[in-house]
């Protein structure tokens, strides 16, 4: 108590109490910590997504599984060749592995969410459709029918406004 008295005794507004500053900063910190999603997969392929105007936002990222298709990165091309490859999680996989991958991903979801599962296809725009078609067929066989062709959003020019 005596400490406070000493302070008030002094004239002037010189010292602002900064004791609550860490609290504020910590609050912000925790906000960003919870919001931050660290990139969980390391891309081994180059994916330049196509542009599209009609893209819809992915509302729930937790419901989505990602399939990447594209050429291996330049430094990996010596070992894996330059043909487009499929990447699931962290590894190159074949079309046959997709069914297992989907089953595995489905397991991780709650039963209620399993029907809402969505597969996001992140495919390089110069890929030929052969591999894409094969992947789509594999998804149909795995009964993962909700898909999303990931793209870069571009401004849509509306004729209505």
């Amino acid at each position: 108590m005596s400490k406070f008295k000493r302070h008030t005794g002094k004239a002037g507004v010189g010292k602002i109490n900064t004791a609550s500053l860490p609290d504020i900063v910590f609050m912000l910190l925790f906000f960003f910590m919870t919001v931050t999603v660290m990139r969980e997969v390391e891309l081994k392929i180059q994916v330049r997504l196509p542009d599209a105007t009609q893209g819809k936002k992915l509302e729930k990222k937790s419901l989505a599984s990602f399939i990447y298709i594209g050429e291996p990165l330049p430094q990996l091309q010596a070992t894996f060749g330059s043909e487009p490859k499929i990447q699931l999680n962290d590894a190159f996989k074949e079309v046959e592995d997709i069914q297992d991958f989907i089953a595995q991903e489905r397991e991780t979801l709650d039963e209620a969410d399993q029907a809402k599962m969505l597969v996001s296809l992140k495919i390089d725009k110069d890929t030929r459709m052969q591999i894409v078609t094969e992947v789509k067929q594999a998804l149909r066989r795995a009964n993962a029918l909700k898909i999303m062709y990931a793209n870069i959003p571009v401004e849509k020019i509306s004729s209505l406004n």
Partner: protein, 194 residues
Amino acid sequence: MARRELHEINAAPMADIAFLLLIFFLVTTTMATDTGLMRKLPPMQDPDQEQSDDQQIHERNILVVKVNKDNMLLVEGEIIQIDELKDIAKEFILNPNDDEDLPEKIEKNIPYFGLVRVAKQAVISLQNDYGTTYGVYIAVQNELLAARDEVKDELSMQTWGMLYDNLSEAQMAAVDEYYNAPISEAEPKKIGGE
């Protein structure tokens, strides 16, 4: 004496540390959300059934869009440029003049609209070659989706004075029923035909 010293810990650097962490997370946070074209794949069918399904749809009710390995577009037998596609698709969905070659309309009762004439069986069929480039394929999909979205937006504007995205769920369902032309991605020809 030692206990009294403990109370005097200087808390000022704590803010610095917290700031440092804060800035780290600020930098690493990616707020960018994923966007993409939402599509639904048809369920796997056995080959016999698929045949009969195809035959049921009359030719005038299908808009066939083909993309070949050189990324050229063929719509209803004519080579076109991609920027023409949207208008063709819109005309196909709307069929404003009840054209003989465009989808036939059936009278149907739809909430909000009453008895209207709807092209119920209209289907846009997108066929691609194995050699088609994915970027072009997506551009075509995008044009077709744009055509359908614009038609829906126009109808919503006319009826409620707002865009389709702002409608209530029931209104959306009504609009979907009005123009429901599904975009079907054709069975790939080479699959299963060893």
